[in-house]
C-alpha cells in the first residue's frame, strides 16, 4: 500500500515539469486562442469587441488565406518527389562507398545545420539581377530567368532551398534503413539473375517503406509550417505565389495587429494541418499494407 502511494506521487512528480509546461504553454493558449478568434483587438487598445464568427468567415473568404492553403499543397507536391529522390540517391551512393562513408555523410548532412535566414540571404545574393549567376547567364546565353519575379521560379527557389536543407537529413534516415536490410535478400536476388534496377524496385524500395513513411510525415508537417525562407526572400510574393500560413498569421498578428483575425487564421491552419497529416498517414498506411507493411 505504501509502495503504491509512493509510486503514485513519484510518477506525478517526475511528470510534473511536462504537466506544468502543458498547462501554461499548451492548454491555456489553446483556450485563449479560441476566445481570441472571436475578438477584434489590436493587442494594445483597451477596447476589444466580441465579433463571434466574423473573423473566421472573413478568413474563409480571404484570397490570402486561400493562397496559403493552396500553396502548402503546391509546395508539398514539388518538395516531396524532389526530396525523396535526392535523399534516396544520397543514401544509396553513400552506402555503396567502401570507405570514407562517414565523412561523405557529414558533408551531405551539413546543409541541415544552416539557418534558413542565412541560406535565404545567400540565395538572394546569388540570384540577384546584378548578381554573379545572372551576370554569367547573360554573358553566356544572353538571357536570365525571371527568378523571384515569376511565381513559378519563386516557388521553385523556395522548394529548392528547403530540399537542399533537408535532403541530407532524410538521407540519413534512409541510410539507417538501408543498413538494416538483410544481405541474403540481395544474394538470393543475384542468384535469380536480377539486375540492379530490378533489385532496387523488388528489394530495396519496399524495405525502405518505414523510412519513407517517416520522411513523408515529416515533410508534410514541414510544408504546412514554412516561414523563414519566404519571409526573407519573397515576403509571400509575387502575387501570393509563395504566401504561407505562418506568413499570413505573422503578418496579421504582428504587422497588421489584428490579433483576433490572426487567431482565426491560425485555427484554420491547425485544422488543415491536422487533416492534411491524417490524410497523408492514411494514404501511406494503405500503400504500406498493399506491400505487406503495417505501420
Amino acid at each position: 500500500m505504501v509502495a503504491r502511494r509512493y509510486y503514485e506521487v513519484r510518477g506525478w512528480l517526475l511528470a510534473s515539469p511536462y504537466l506544468v509546461y502543458t498547462v501554461v504553454f499548451f492548454l491555456v493558449p489553446i483556450v485563449w486562442a479560441l476566445w481570441l478568434a472571436g475578438m477584434e483587438w489590436n493587442l494594445i487598445s483597451p477596447r476589444r469587441t466580441w465579433v463571434g464568427l466574423k473573423n473566421l468567415m472573413e478568413a474563409l473568404g480571404s484570397p490570402r488565406v486561400w493562397a496559403a492553403f493552396i500553396n502548402s499543397y503546391k509546395f508539398l507536391l514539388f518538395f516531396l518527389p524532389v526530396v525523396l529522390v535526392l535523399a534516396v540517391s544520397i543514401a544509396l551512393l553513400v552506402n555503396s562507398l567502401p570507405w570514407g562513408a562517414h565523412w561523405y555523410t557529414v558533408l551531405f548532412f551539413l546543409p541541415y545545420l544552416a539557418s534558413g535566414v542565412a541560406t535565404s540571404l545567400v540565395a538572394e545574393g546569388l540570384i540577384a539581377v546584378n548578381g554573379p549567376l545572372n551576370l554569367w547567364l547573360v554573358r553566356t546565353f544572353g538571357f536570365r530567368p525571371p527568378w523571384l519575379e515569376s511565381p513559378g521560379w519563386a516557388t521553385a527557389i523556395i522548394v529548392a532551398l528547403i530540399a537542399w536543407k533537408f535532403a541530407g537529413y532524410y538521407a540519413l534516415i534512409y541510410l539507417a534503413a538501408l543498413r538494416s536490410i538483410p544481405r541474403d535478400l540481395y544474394e538470393a536476388a543475384a542468384i535469380d539473375g536480377a539486375g540492379p534496377w530490378t533489385r532496387f524496385w523488388r528489394i530495396t524500395w519496399p524495405n525502405l517503406y518505414p523510412a519513407t513513411f517517416t520522411v513523408v510525415v515529416l515533410a508534410v508537417g514541414l510544408m504546412f509550417g514554412i516561414f523563414t525562407e519566404p519571409y526573407v526572400l519573397t515576403r509571400g510574393g509575387p502575387n501570393l505565389a509563395t504566401h504561407t500560413w505562418h506568413l499570413e498569421i505573422y503578418h496579421q498578428a504582428f504587422a497588421n495587429f489584428r490579433a483576433g483575425y490572426a487567431s482565426a487564421v491560425a485555427l484554420l491552419n491547425a485544422v488543415c494541418t491536422f487533416v492534411g497529416v491524417a490524410v497523408v498517414r492514411w494514404i501511406m498506411q494503405r500503400w504500406g499494407r498493399a506491400h505487406g507493411y503495417e505501420a
Binding site: 493587442l43 540577384a128 539581377v129 546584378n130 510574393g237 509575387p238 497588421n256 495587429f257
Partner: protein, 443 residues
Amino acid sequence: MFNGRIIRSCLSVVVLLALVLSGCGGSKQEGGAASGQGDKVSIVFWSAPNPTQEKFWRTMAEEYMQSHPNVQIEVAPIPESPSSEAGILTALSSGSKLTASENIFVGFGAQLVNSEAVVPLDTLPGYDELIQARKAEAIVADWKYPDGHQYILPLYSNAMLFAWRMDILKELGYAEPPRTYGEILALGEKLKAKYPDKYVLTRKLLLDPNSWWERWFDFFILYYAASDGAPFLTGTEVTADRDAVMKVMRFLQEMNQRGYVLTNAEDAFEQGLAVWDVVGPWALPYWKEKYPELKVGENVVFTPPPVPDGFPSDKAPKTFADAKGVVIYKHASEAEQQAAWEFIKWVLSDPKHDRQWLEMTGLPPARGDLTTNPEFEPYLKENPALARYAEAVPTGVPPIKHEKFVELHTRLGETLMVPVITGQKTPEQAFDDLVAAWAEVLR
C-alpha cells in the same frame, strides 16, 4: 569518446550560466523601474532604425544628461520586426519601458490615439512657445486629430524626389532628364536600343503588397503629382481623383509591359542597371559610404515626380512627403513623461540642434524657416542635394491619416498595383475593386 561525466559537467556549467543570466536580465529591468521612482528619472527614447538618426539622438541625450544629471536617457533604435510600427506596438502591448519615440507618421499616430497610447502634447507646458520657435504653426495644422489635439510633434519632412543616372542619360543624348510620362517612355525606347539589359525604373518591392509602406514611394508619389495633391481619402470616404489614378496606373502598366521596370533587385540604380529610382535624403550618407562614385549634380540628378502629358510645365508637381514626428507614451509614469517632454523641448527649440540634425541625418527638419533661417543657409549652399529636398518641402503631401493604414495600403497593393502592373486587370476595373475593398475595411 565522450563519457557521461564530461557531458554532465558541461551541462551543469550551462545550467549555472543560464540561471545567472536570466537572473541578470530580470534584475536589470527591475533596477530601471526602481530608479524611476527615486529622485533620478530614467527614460527610454526610441529613435528611428536609421543609423544616422540613432547617432543624432544618442549625441543629444549625452549632451542633455551632462547638464541635467538627474535624468537618465537611454536611446535605442526601434526594432523593425517587421516594421518600426510593429516594433512599437509590440513594445507597448507588452508593457515594456518606453517613454517617447520619433519616427511616428500620422496614420500610425491615429492608431496610437485611438488606442489611447499617447499624450496630447498641446496640453503640456511650453508647447505653444516651442511651435513658435520652430515657426511650425502651418506644418502642425496638418497633424491635428479630429478631437482637436496634437499628439505628434513634427520632426522632419522628406518630400521624396526621383533620381536619374545622368551619366547614362547623357550617353543617350539627353541634356536633362525627361519630365512627362510620354518623354519617359520615349527614353525607355532609346535606352533599350542601346543597352537591352538595362532598365528605366527600379523599385525592389513594387509588386509586394505586404511591404505596405512602399506604396508611399511608388503609388502615392506619382498620384499626388498627377492629381496636384488631391486627397485620396477624406475621413472614411475615398475622394481620389479617378482620372489621375487612371493616368498613373496606365503609365506603370505600360512601363512594365515594355520591360522597363526592374523589381526585386538590390541597389540596381546605384549600380547603373536602372536609370531612375525614388530616393529619400537618407540615401545620401549611404551612397557616401558604399557608392562614393555617385555625385549628386554630376552623374546623379534629382527631379520632382514625373507628370502626365499635358501637365502645365510652369507648375511645380506635388510629391509624397515622408513626414515623421515625436510622441510621448501614456503608459510611462507622470515623471517620465515630464522628463521626456523637457528633453524633447530642449532638443527641438534650438535651431543649432536642427542644424546638427540636418548635418548628421540629411533629413530636412520640419521648421517653417528652413530655407530662410541663416542657421541653415551656409550648409544648404554647400550641399545642393539637400537644398533640393529643402526646397521641395512645400510641395510635399503627407500620408493618409487613418488607423487602418496597414490594411489599406496592403489592399492597395493587392487590388490595384499588382493586378494592373502585371496586366491582369484594366486600371478602371481595378480602381473600382479598390474602392469596394477599402469601403469594406473602413466600414
